[in-house]
Symmetry: C2
Amino acid sequence: MMNGWRIPTTLAMLRSCTQRSLLSVPFSTTSRVNANRAVVFSEAGRPASVLRTHTFPTLSSPPAGSVNIRYRLAPVNPSDINVIEGSYPLRPVPDVSVSSDGKLFVPGNEGLGEVTAVGDDVQGLSVGDWVVVAKQQSGTWVSARSARAEDVIKLPKGDVSEVNAATIIVNPPTAYNMLREFVDLKEGDWVVQNGANSAVGQVVIQIAARRGIKTINFVRNRENFEELERQLKALGATHVLRYDDLADKEKIKTVQSWTKDAPIRLFLNCVGGNSVTKTLRLVGHDAHLVTYGAMAREPLTLPASPLIFKGLVARGFWQSHWYDMHGRKEREELMRALVDLKLKGPEHEIVTVPGNVNDEEASQLICETMRRMSEGKSGRKVMLRIEERLD
Amino acid sequence: MMNGWRIPTTLAMLRSCTQRSLLSVPFSTTSRVNANRAVVFSEAGRPASVLRTHTFPTLSSPPAGSVNIRYRLAPVNPSDINVIEGSYPLRPVPDVSVSSDGKLFVPGNEGLGEVTAVGDDVQGLSVGDWVVVAKQQSGTWVSARSARAEDVIKLPKGDVSEVNAATIIVNPPTAYNMLREFVDLKEGDWVVQNGANSAVGQVVIQIAARRGIKTINFVRNRENFEELERQLKALGATHVLRYDDLADKEKIKTVQSWTKDAPIRLFLNCVGGNSVTKTLRLVGHDAHLVTYGAMAREPLTLPASPLIFKGLVARGFWQSHWYDMHGRKEREELMRALVDLKLKGPEHEIVTVPGNVNDEEASQLICETMRRMSEGKSGRKVMLRIEERLD
């Protein structure tokens, strides 16, 4: 999840991907129609350099216990980039459904799928259902794939937009679970978070506001701070502050006066580094500092005193681990709860890989998109719509 | 408890205390016999500069719910020095039992007392009982005092030596509770700790060995390392290593091979700083890093990765807080369990403040002892025996 990830913009990333897209692309040798397409890579590296598209045959009928899925929309998340770069603790397994040579990996950890065929011994899933796959690194940047039914979570189709559904399994549950797993928060309680305008941060604000929990939201200083403050307050933020405010004794006293009757017991951190240590002064006894990202790429610095004398507990949260620990029923309950929250979807742009272009053109489109992201030109979440091939 | 505390040896500490002991000492104005003596201070500062002794009258009969105690032996713990220096989060309250002007503080957080009188409405305590006082900063560097019965824990007299009884309420329960409160350790499991030759560390080794739990014990490099290694192994240590070994890849692999079938889930830390971060590489998933001291006077540096992806939980332990949270029955059970463990007592020297010297001489003895400790000349725990006054 590492939601705080930022795309490095080095010269190496700016080299043209035209060269790379001239590399030979293995074609399937089966007799089925080559109707599907996946974004793939064979070796870890800069996304703009190592990604390409690959065409593969129509799916066979799903085996017992499996379903076939057509992917409608899949986001490009920071953690996906980490996986492609090889800096994520999990690697995808070689994807034999797109190529039997065992050398291709399909990125993508979340996305909205639609069931197109149901194998034997599958309960509770029908053709046309909207689904997400909770298995880590399942490879969602693809037009279609099969999946084990046990990894599939059905969504309440019709109650949720495509964009919200495609981005529902990582960030919203991270926020939702961090707000309920560690501290028993009641109406009127306070939560402090940094990276408050991250995808998770914005969901934290929304869920807290619905529950009557007040939030103190730290963001970086920026030219348009007031605009961001307005946006976050529109989502339900109680207060929005800058990390610079942590050096201002009067501001600190103000925060302490807000929370003195309900000392802060939950601090959500996706940044790391020095500001975390300073923010600890704002929290009360027996607080939990929950880390789910490391945007500053710096470790936490924790003095012994709050650990020993104030009962501080520092821990992490990883939604993938949550899925590993919870069964289908709990997963579906989680999705139902998230859909019912009617969360504001992420600001996004959809990049469609059309069915009528060849892999060379499609590869070029993908790596231009990646390069544009790495240059920070898109402030919005990029979502991939990879169409079935028409030719 | 901050068991890792080290006495600073600055020039300021070396100035003679003779000057200071010439300060006027307030004498009691009551008509009772001045038969008791306490070590006291009025303002925080270097122990060798601010401590003196003070004579006060024989205790009155204890009020309802209280007992009178004669102190037999009280240790000088690192946390006591912190309190006197003013660097501990808790200050003792002015001690009106030794002086009604409300300006004198009596240091001392633990010690062995003997009940000399029992007030009304006190159950389960009799004259002659050996007791300890679990109230924080109760002021034990004194010949006698009264105490509320609810703060008093009775010891199984006869089953425990004076020295072990006088040092039973801080370090042994810290070790005992850290080994049972966070991780469900079974025979054959591993624990790693730093500061392994500290008072707590040595008890950890002993309790773990009795329970069949294996320990990896880190200590500073030193000339007589082999001797220390032998001593700690004689207590039950499985392995003794130096912090320098953390830079040695082969050593790290060796440790990993020891623990590969039972990954380490408990890491006890009284040091802090860089070595903690390195030691984290040795621990397995879902481990608890429990901090109870800060000998290196440096904060912990925790990368986000073990928190998020390995389920690491960093927390603190403070035995004083444990007492606050537990009633008399649980406290007595704890003492019984500790006595039954027949722990090796600390290496110690007893400093007796004799009953037949005046306060000027007694003050000089106390601050010479403190100066000697600050110069690191005593490798052994100093224990005070403050006798009743005879003159």
